[in-house]
Symmetry: C2
DNA sequence: TTAAAATAGGATAAAATTATCCGAATTAAA
DNA sequence: TTTAATTCGGATAATTTTATCCTATTTTAA
């Protein structure tokens, strides 16, 4: 509704990987896709993206898989994930698609949009993987239906 | 960034039609597309949609075009336009794409997302075509670069 | 009545996003 | 050293969104 599918999968996958990493376990693509109910091959592409952006680690070969440094889980923000996958459109894009849209040359909804976007931005920059993972393990929230 | 292209065009077109309607003029598809810098044929589809949803009126034939009842301009909210074009995904969709996501079975970002979405929803439901059109005519905002 | 100017709408095409397939490379265990 | 389990990455396909084209229909003016 606000993120691309790729981003949705990326966020959910990251949460699950964080959960496993707390337990000291690596998880395979297959396990991730199953847990978050996503298409395997497509999810692989997204994970590769996150690896390239150094948000998660991957280990090839048997007993390989994905993990994330325990110590960095609390400092990985949703904004990092969204940015790695969808780029910075959230920060720069105009609500009505104008090439340039700023205080000097605003689109009709510029100010109104700014309020909403700033709230979204704040949320993304202040929500970290740790809190999200904890809510999953406590059963307060869910990664799939 | 948050709306589809179709929605962006639909909003901009509606504002321009409102502006013309204040002057008692109908505007042609061609004039609209030029003014908002949008592809003509695609814009036509979107306008048809808005006509079907009775948000704007169309008149066929020579000297025809699009207009909107002067008296209803102030009561047409952005939410009406967005809803006509993109449906109600803004109101119902889960931020992480879960089929069902509610208080009883929330996705990991449910609460945080709700804040942002409620603000967006409020904005869409409290912004009407009149204010937007006035800001264009006063030169405070722009429909294109 | 005819011609010109419009919108309506169906059929397609192009582009972007989402999804799949498969072989290559890597790694650990047997 | 071989085999199985993995990720990586390129090619391709399916789907959705965006965009175009063309004909039909409507309307006004000449």
């Amino acid at each position: 509704m606000m993120f691309s599918k790729a981003c949705e999968y990326g966020i959910k996958a990251s949460i699950f990987i964080a959960l496993s990493s707390y337990k000291g376990e690596r998880v395979s693509l297959k396990a991730i896709a199953k847990e978050i109910n996503s298409p395997e091959a497509f999810t692989a592409k997204i994970l590769q993206d996150l690896v390239r952006h150094k948000i998660i680690n991957s280990t090839k070969g048997a007993y390989g898989g994905f993990d994330v440094d325990k110590t960095s889980i609390s400092s990985i923000k949703l904004s990092h994930i969204v940015n790695a996958i969808d780029g910075d459109s959230i920060y720069n894009g105009c609500g009505l698609g104008l090439e340039t849209c700023d205080e000097n040359h605003p689109c009709p909804v510029h100010d109104r949009f700014k309020l909403v976007r700033d709230e979204l931005k704040f949320m993304l920059e202040h929500t970290n993987l740790e809190e999200l993972a904890l809510n999953i393990s406590s059963g307060a929230s869910f990664l799939k239906v």
